[in-house]
C-alpha cells in the first residue's frame, strides 16, 4: 500500500500514536508496570478532563500564561528596539558587542537566585526572571539581523537618497525579520521554561506548581495530565508564532 504524503499519511501517523497509547493502556491494565509511575493513559485523560471542568485549573493556567506573556512581550519589545539600535550602528557595536558575547553562554535559569535575592519569592520575581532571560535571544538575534543587511541594498538606498528612517523601515527591518523571528521563537521556549521553573521555586499558583504538588503527593495521573497541558501550551504558543512568521515572511521559501 503506497501512502503518499498528505492527509492519508497524517492519519496513519496519528494511528501510530494511538497505537502507542493503546499499548501503554494495555500494559498498565495487565499491571506490568507500576501504576504509580506509569498510570494508564485513561486515568491521565480523566484527570485532565476533571481538572478542566473545575476552576482551579483555569486559574493556574491563566496565572502561568499571564506571567509568560508579560515577560515575553516586554522582553521582545525591548530586545527588538535595542537590537535595532545596536545592530544599525557599527560605532555602538564596538562598545557593546563584546559584553553581549559575555552574557551569551550563561544559562537563563542561573540568574533566578539573583532575582530571588532582589524580589523574594513572588510574581514580581517570576515576571522579571522571565523577561530578563527572554531578552537575550531576541536582542542577540536582532543585532545580528540588523548588522547583516545586504550591503548592495544599502547602496541602492543611498542612490535613491532614502532618509535614514526610510532605509531602516523599508530595507533594514524587513531584512532583519527572519533573524528577529528566530530570536522570538527561542525567547518563547525560554519564557515557558522559566515560567515553570520559577513557579516551582516560588510555590505560587500556576501550572508548574500543579505538577510539583501532584508529584509530591504521588498523584501521577494528575502529574501526567499537567505535563500534557504544558506540552500543549508549548505547542500552541509556537504555532501562533509560526503563523505570524509565515504571514509576515511570505516571500520566503516560495
Amino acid at each position: 500500500m503506497k501512502l503518499k504524503n498528505g492527509p492519508l499519511m497524517w492519519l496513519a501517523s496519528l494511528g501510530i500514536l494511538c497505537l502507542f497509547v493503546a499499548l501503554w493502556q494495555g500494559v498498565s491494565h495487565l499491571d506490568l508496570v507500576s501504576a504509580v509511575f506509569f498510570p494508564a493513559p485513561t486515568r491521565s485523560f480523566e484527570s485532565l478532563w476533571d481538572q478542566m471542568r473545575g476552576t482551579d485549573f483555569w486559574f493556574a493556567f491563566q496565572q502561568t500564561l499571564t506571567r509568560m506573556a508579560m515577560g515575553f512581550v516586554s522582553a521582545s519589545l525591548v530586545g527588538i528596539v535595542l537590537g535595532a539600535l545596536i545592530g544599525l550602528s557599527p560605532r555602538v557595536r564596538v562598545y557593546i558587542e563584546p559584553s553581549l558575547e559575555l552574557i551569551r553562554p550563561l544559562p537563563a535559569s542561573a540568574m533566578i537566585p539573583v532575582f530571588v535575592l532582589l524580589f523574594g519569592l513572588n510574581d514580581r520575581m517570576i515576571v522579571t526572571a522571565i523577561a530578563f532571560s527572554s531578552l537575550w535571544p531576541v536582542l542577540l538575534n536582532t543585532v545580528h539581523g540588523f548588522k547583516t543587511v545586504e550591503p548592495r541594498l544599502i547602496e541602492v538606498a543611498r542612490i535613491l537618497r532614502l532618509s535614514r528612517l526610510q532605509t531602516v523601515w523599508k530595507i533594514a527591518l524587513p531584512n532583519a525579520m527572519p533573524d528577529i523571528f528566530a530570536g522570538l521563537r527561542l525567547a518563547l521556549t525560554v519564557s515557558l521554561i522559566l515560567a515553570v521553573v520559577t513557579e516551582m521555586l516560588a510555590g505560587v499558583a500556576g501550572l508548574g506548581q500543579n505538577i510539583t504538588l501532584a508529584a509530591r503527593s504521588f498523584r501521577s495521573a494528575d502529574l501526567y495530565a499537567g505535563i500534557i497541558v504544558l506540552g500543549a501550551v508549548g505547542y500552541l504558543t509556537n504555532i501562533l508564532l509560526e503563523r505570524a512568521e509565515n504571514h509576515l515572511l511570505r516571500w520566503r521559501g516560495h
Binding site: M9, A12, L17, P98, S99, S109, A110, V197, A215, G231
Partner: protein, 254 residues
C-alpha cells in the same frame, strides 16, 4: 588594539559603577554584592574545593544524560533520515512529544528516581535527544545521493551502508549537533539542580541564595558561564581540527 579596549570599556564601567555604588550604600549590597567581594568569593570556592565538587556533580549528571539522549537521537535520526516513510509515520508522535518543556518532566523524574544523578540525567537525556534527532535526520537526508548510489553498486548491506557511508558522511553536521547538545546538557543540568536536585552547581547557587550570600551567587554564576564558554570553545576547536579543512564534505551542494 583600540578595538579590544573599546570593547572592554562598557564592562569595566559597569563594574566600577557597581563597586562604587555598593560601597557608598546607594546599592543594596545585601542583595547584589559587589565585584571585589564576588571575586574573593570566586577564589574562595576554588580554594575550598566546593567549586570542583559541584562542577563534577553537574558534569556527571550532564554527561550521563548527553550520552543517552544523543545516542538515541542519532540512532533514530539515522533511521528517520534513511526512511522517509518511517519519519512521516512517526511525525505525529514526535511532534506531540517535542513541545513538552524538559523542565515539566522534573517532577516525574523526581517521582520515579528520587533525588540524585539518575533523575538529572533522565531530564538531560530528554533535552539532548531532540536537537540530535532533528540534526541527524537532516544530515542524513542531505547526503550526496551519489554516495548512496556508490553503496548500492558495491552491494553494501544496511549495517555496512550506515557505518561506512551514512555516518561518516553525516558526521560533520552531527558533530555540530553534539556541540549544541553539550551546551544544552549543561544548561538543563544546572536548571534541574536549581529547581529540585540537591547536587551540583545549581544547588550551590540555591544554597548561596538561601544563606543570603549574593557574592557566592554571582561567583558561581560566573564560574558556570566560564565553564560553559570553555566547553563550547574546546569543542569548537576539536570540530575545526577534525572537520575544518574538509568542510561539510559529503553534503549535496546543488
Amino acid at each position: 588594539m583600540t578595538r579590544i579596549l573599546k570593547g572592554l570599556l562598557l564592562p569595566v564601567l559597569v563594574l566600577l559603577v557597581w563597586e562604587l555604588s555598593a560601597r557608598s550604600g546607594a546599592l543594596k549590597a545585601e542583595s547584589l554584592s559587589f565585584p571585589t567581594a564576588i571575586l574573593l568569593a570566586a577564589a574562595a570556592v576554588v580554594a575550598d574545593g566546593s567549586l570542583f565538587k559541584a562542577a563534577l556533580e553537574t558534569f556527571t549528571g550532564a554527561v550521563g544524560g548527553l550520552a543517552v539522549g544523543a545516542s538515541a537521537g542519532i540512532l533514530i535520526g539515522v533511521a528517520f533520515g534513511l526512511s522517509r516513510r518511517l519519519s512521516q509515520l512517526m511525525r505525529v508522535t514526535t511532534e506531540s512529544l517535542r513541545p513538552i518543556p524538559s523542565v515539566a518532566l522534573i517532577p516525574l523524574a523526581l517521582l520515579i528516581h528520587g533525588y540524585g544523578f539518575q533523575m538529572e540525567s533522565s531530564v538531560v537525556a530528554f533535552s539532548c535527544f531532540w536537537p540530535l534527532l532533528i540534526i541527524t535526520e537532516g544530515a542524513v537526508r542531505g547526503i550526496e545521493p551519489r554516495l548512496i548510489e556508490v553503496a548500492r553498486v558495491l552491494n553494501f548491506n544496511l549495517v555496512q551502508r550506515v557505518t561506512k557511508i551514512v555516518l561518516p558522511a553525516a558526521l560533520p553536521r552531527i558533530f555540530v549537533g553534539l556541540r549544541l547538545a553539550a551546551a544544552v546538557s549543561l544548561v538543563v543540568a544546572v536548571t534541574v539542580e536549581i529547581t529540585a536536585n540537591p547536587i551540583g552547581l545549581g544547588y550551590a547557587l540555591i544554597v548561596a541564595q538561601e544563606s543570603m550570600r549574593p557574592d557566592k551567587v554571582f561567583a558561581f554564576i560566573g564560574w558556570i558561564g566560564l565553564i560553559g564558554w570553555s566547553l563550547n570553545a574546546s569543542l569548537l576547536r576539536v570540530q575545526l581540527k577534525w572537520f575544518g579543512r574538509m568542510g561539510n564534505w559529503a553534503e549535496h551542494t546543488s
